[in-house]
């Protein structure tokens, strides 16, 4: 089997992408993305609503939003609430992992 060397994009807090790109790869509509920005779920890296750009890690959140929208039939208000709570769960789990690591086994 041939190994393919391929272009790849890290979804992190240093690379940047456009509003249109997030819409394209996430499957959210432009309107839905705008509403998630208004509720603070997805944070652009600048404050020019005419030409937002984002860290590529926003794509992870946007795709999660699209999955929740499709699999639970949520509207953007429900999505914002669910994503907010999921983010808190993530933060708490990270904190628990950090504390556990520092406890002796």
């Amino acid at each position: 089997m041939k190994t393919q060397i391929t272009e790849s994009v890290w979804l992190n807090a240093s690379d940047i992408c456009s509003f249109e790109h997030v819409v394209e790869v996430s499957g959210l509509s432009a309107q839905e993305l705008r509403e998630l920005i208004e509720t603070g779920i997805i944070e652009p890296s600048n404050d020019d609503p005419g030409n937002y750009f984002f860290h590529t890690q926003c794509i992870v959140v946007a795709r999660k939003a699209r999955r929740l929208r499709d699999d639970f039939e949520l509207d953007t208000r429900g999505l914002a609430l669910a994503l907010n709570l999921l983010r808190r769960v993530d933060d708490l789990e990270t904190e628990i992992a950090r504390l556990r690591a520092r406890l002796g086994r």
Binding site: W10, F72, R100, A101
Partner: protein, 313 residues
């Protein structure tokens, strides 16, 4: 091909109404959706549930599925003749595809036919896979080969699974759960639609020595009672090589000794810390001389580590 009983997966009767199917799906989605559930095996379970729902909620797909007849869960079976004709392949070999691939192909073909009439491009499906990485790989940055087996279609439109291997560059300082997007390496598009993407999630493998908490690492450091009492210099393995550490006199169990900058790097190259957590260990078997010395110490020492009220020994 293995038969999957979608009705059984959703826990509904074969004559269930659309409403009952939807309700059953919703309940299971709340239980197993990988974005909200932490249950072990949730992702696989939800995949089956979503697959069952995608088939049974669509009346055309449900009819096509029902036409396969009823088989015991997991039984090997060959789809009936009309299915093979659907793919214009008389001698189709279905042994290496699964039912979901076939039904997905059926739906895609239907969609493509509809879209073709409308001349609208249809984008390919995105896929997500996870890739195990070691702390060593993330510590230095590394390249690793990832082999995936994604469903696609051959020239006759027949679904199949074909393995592909990609060389992935793991950047130094990648974090657990971080994702990588391989543009257009997912499912094929139709009518000039773009191919879907492949998302790869880094998954840190548990390490023999270190526990990970953010950028910091912890390691257990067992000491002999005399090392803890008198102090010592010990060698600690770190991801960047062994370092010597001075153990101060009178070190108690549970004490955390910090090795600054010996943890995991972040994407800017800045390192977290390594914590060595002291444990006091005792020899399982004492030599005669060791026992003698310990007994001497016990007779001599006035140290009492217990400070319970009223306790004298």
């Amino acid at each position: 091909m293995k038969y999957i009983d979608y009705y059984e997966v959703l826990g509904v009767a074969r004559d269930a109404t659309q409403d009952e199917i939807k309700k059953a799906y919703r309940k299971l989605a709340h239980q197993y959706h990988p974005d909200v559930s932490k249950e072990a095996g949730a992702e696989q379970k939800f995949k089956e549930v979503a697959e069952a729902y995608a088939t049974l909620k669509d009346s055309e797909k449900r009819a096509a599925y029902d036409a396969l007849g009823r088989h015991p869960q997991g039984e090997d079976f060959v789809p009936p003749h009309q299915w093979q004709q659907h793919f214009h392949e008389e001698s189709a070999d279905f042994s290496d595809v699964d039912l979901a691939d076939l039904l997905a192909a059926f739906a895609a073909a239907q969609r493509a036919e509809r879209q073709q009439r409308a001349h609208r491009p249809l984008n390919g499906q995105d896929f997500e896979v996870s890739m195990p990485v070691t702390l060593e790989q993330v510590y230095t940055g590394a390249e690793a080969d990832l082999t995936v087996s994604l469903p696609d279609y051959d020239a006759q439109g027949m679904p199949r699974r074909s393995p592909k291997t990609y060389r992935i560059r793991i950047p130094k300082g990648a974090s657990d759960g971080q994702r990588l997007r391989l543009p257009q390496k997912g499912g094929a598009g139709f009518n000039g639609g773009r191919a879907g993407d492949l998302y790869v999630t880094m998954q840190f493998q548990p390490h023999r020595l270190y526990r990970v908490g953010g950028r910091d690492l912890s390691i257990d450091l067992p000491l002999a009672p005399w090392e803890a009492t008198l102090g010592a210099v010990v060698e600690i393995p770190t991801l960047g090589g062994a370092v010597e550490m001075k153990i101060p006199e009178g070190t108690v169990a549970g004490r955390k000794l910090r090795l600054s900058g010996r943890g995991m790097p972040d994407s800017s190259g800045k390192h977290g810390d390594l914590y060595a957590i002291v444990q006091i260990d005792v020899p399982a078997k004492l030599s005669a001389r060791e026992r003698e010395l310990m007994q001497q110490l016990a007779a001599e020492s006035r140290f009492n580590p217990r400070s319970y009220p009223g306790a004298s020994t």
